[in-house]
Amino acid sequence: MINGARQGKLSGLRRLVAAAMSRDLDAFLIPGPDIARAHGLDIEAAGLRLAVSPRHASVLLVVGAIPPALREAAAVIYAQMVRPRAILVLGTEEPSSLPAADVVTGLSQQGLIQGVHQLRGAFAEGAFRLDVSDFDAPVLQVRIEYTCPMHPEVVQDEPGSCPKCGMNLVPREAQAGAGHAHMDMQATSSHEHHDMDHGVAVEYTCPMHPEVVQSKPGSCPECGMNLEPREAQTESMHEHHHMDHDAAVEYTCPMHPEVVQSEPGSCPKCGMNLEPREMQDTQTHEHAGMDSDADHGSMDHSAMDHGDMAFMSMIDVTKDLPRSGDGLPMEWIDAPFGPFFPGLPGGLLLTLTLDGDTVAGSDARSLIENVDLLQQLPMDTMSFVEQLAGMDPLAPVAYRLLACRALENAAGVKASADTACARIGALERERIASHLGWLALFGQQTGFDWLMRRAAALQLKARHADLEQTVALKPAIQALTKQLQRTPLLKSRTAGIGRLAPDATLRGPVARAAGISDDARSMDKIFTTLGFTPANRKEGDALARLHVRLDEITHSLALIEAAGAIELPVPANIGKVSGTGEAVVETPRGMACLQLTLEMGEVVAAQLETPSTHHLTLIGALIEQQELGDALVAVGSLDLSPWEVRQ
């Protein structure tokens, strides 16, 4: 049995269909394939296929604990999936805002395989069911607000008339709230609102003499009444067009709102032509449709015309549209990419204002609110280390090491040379796995299938490899690098894309690709004795970042070999000391810095600086006026971790 079963009796042919479904499961991953790989999960080996659109998925696979904002976004994704649909949760309690999970297992490959097995059974038995219930969550509610067509500043929750001009307020869906700005689910503003934004032509007409129409306010030449504004004729045709497939239409008199009828005609009180409008109950109608018919993107058809174009002047239609760089007026649309976008790190929400396929504006933020992590202080040292290590599933070892070093510095304890060396082994192994994970994501984003699979497979191997196994990876890494050097189209896809000038905000591989040989490891004596030299490129573009990461994988292999041991950092027992300490660790994404204050063996204050926080601020300028594909490559090449972003 599954909660998201499709309505119907499971008999005869449907039994066959259900059996086929149970063998063909497409999974949409929350927070994303990158996190699944970081946890060592091989989705395809477990018998699932990765779906890139929730519409094509039958399983929502939740990997590990996810923060509240992502839970809401996940509910939206679930609502977009078509029935039958199921939820498989790995290694966490069931996320609220989603219906009860159909299967919950542990966060491991074993757990995943077991979960998929149970899901298959559940699908075969219960893909169809007679009693199905709708899924509804607060985040899916659409709020309807009312606004005046002429005075956009007038907005209220109840229907009524405009205090400024007395016109009837028109309903629209409330502008996307925080919870709504998710993947292809931004609440679509109603047509009226949309057009107002771009100032659709308004014409003026006499309430008594509809034949009098002019483009400027004034008085009626026949009766002297003040002309009243209305949306230009073409606009009402739009609405009409949409109403055909949108909702029931009723007709009302612009002057006498109490006159309402289901057919066109004239007003019995003043004789004016009745105007069509959407029936009030469309709100509930659209609302109910939200479950499975969620809208996609914030663009709608009204402004890009279907067939009525002959009636309007292009100059009128486009005069108030924003101008692109090339001077062509186009309809700009806001499209959300994330927080579960297949080509970007899970948890990153990139909202692009697109002018055609060119980025006219952008907003990037992390939906993973790790801000309060360090506000739960004071905390004993052990839990502090665990907290920090658990903060970023993409770099747990680096942050564990950072916490250990800062604690030891505060307490004035020094780790032995052997321990320090072995810790470096662990840090460098994580760097290899992390860079491979980035390569897999890059492959996924650019449709470079071979790279995606090869890098992901190597990442899974490298993740927990011991010294011997790590060294054994060398030939495979060399082969990968060689293959990338002779890959056609790779250079044209990345060279010159996302170019960044050397700048103080750059960190890690991004900085080293721009010619800044800024690496916390060069300041570390142990690293220099192991023969460390930072990677360096000058171009500062996506290609240079790719090369730097490839170089670093090779360097890290050499460092691990030189270090001769791999050991996860464990905090030294520091007792009940007081003091302040600072530590710097070169994480796979760049330098992270932690300052903390100890009091009687407890961490009472801490300050953390992370590379992705800096890089997130670069995005706006980086992708301005870039073509969509290039913009995504540019953002991807920064290798952001939304988990370490501190807003």
Binding site: R23, S53, R83, D184, T188, D295, L489
Partner: protein
Amino acid sequence: MTTVLLLLLLAVGAYLVAVIEAWTTSGRLRLAAPLLAGIALLGRESIVPRKPDQVFFEVAPVLLLISAILAAAVVPLTPDLIITDLATGALFINAALVYVLVALLMAGWGPDGAYAMIGGWRFLGQLIAYAMLIVMPITAVVMRAESLLTTQVVVSQAGLWNIVYQPLGFVLFFIASMALAFLPPFDLTTSKGELAGGVEAEYTGVRLAIFRLGRLALIITLAAATVVFYLGGWQGPLLPPWAWSAIKILVVTATMLLAGRYMPRIREADLLAWCWMFGIPLALLNIFIVGVLVLVFP
């Protein structure tokens, strides 16, 4: 009878494309997988997005399929195994496949979603890139055959296949076919990592099944056309003609599907620039060379 048989063969071909495609991506050869996937898709809800252009949304997948079938109608598998041996066959393939553009634009516009819409417009740009590179190499092929009959095109290669006679044309046509079938690295319109599926993103259930079937039929049709134009069609020793056709078509299909795995998706700007700066001059050169060859060695 031939028509029914050929439509059946087209369906089998589309099925084999699905099997090969799954094999090239996952490395596992599973013969039953597309069947299960198809049944599962038919059993899933097929929903209409909230503010669709109903006509476009419903018609697009069907039109894609029809376009591929129409093109397949003039592709011969043996001298007799052809739905209709049109006197303008070689040209008709090109005409029928133009509706792929229409279908994808409609699929992009229909669901009222940003990803789909961008995907649809991207294909319009793609058409401007590949269209000339479909029709110009075909021109050189029919110059040699001195006929637009597709069967005649095959017969004209009895001595020497076109892949040897006009290799330049083959390369251009092969690349353009991949672009026309929006196969990687030309999958700008359905790209997963950039548009979460693009024009496919909003289709579900039976509509998605038809869309995917249309795409598979398009791939097999283009592979068959490549075989007819450049690989000597049904000609070959020992084996019967239909077997040669089948083998060649499957090999071309596998090559088309494999090539894109080893490179990232092309940039739209690069595609347009290269097609016009290099592709079209090369296609003209090809026509010139073939013209000279035809005159000198009639």
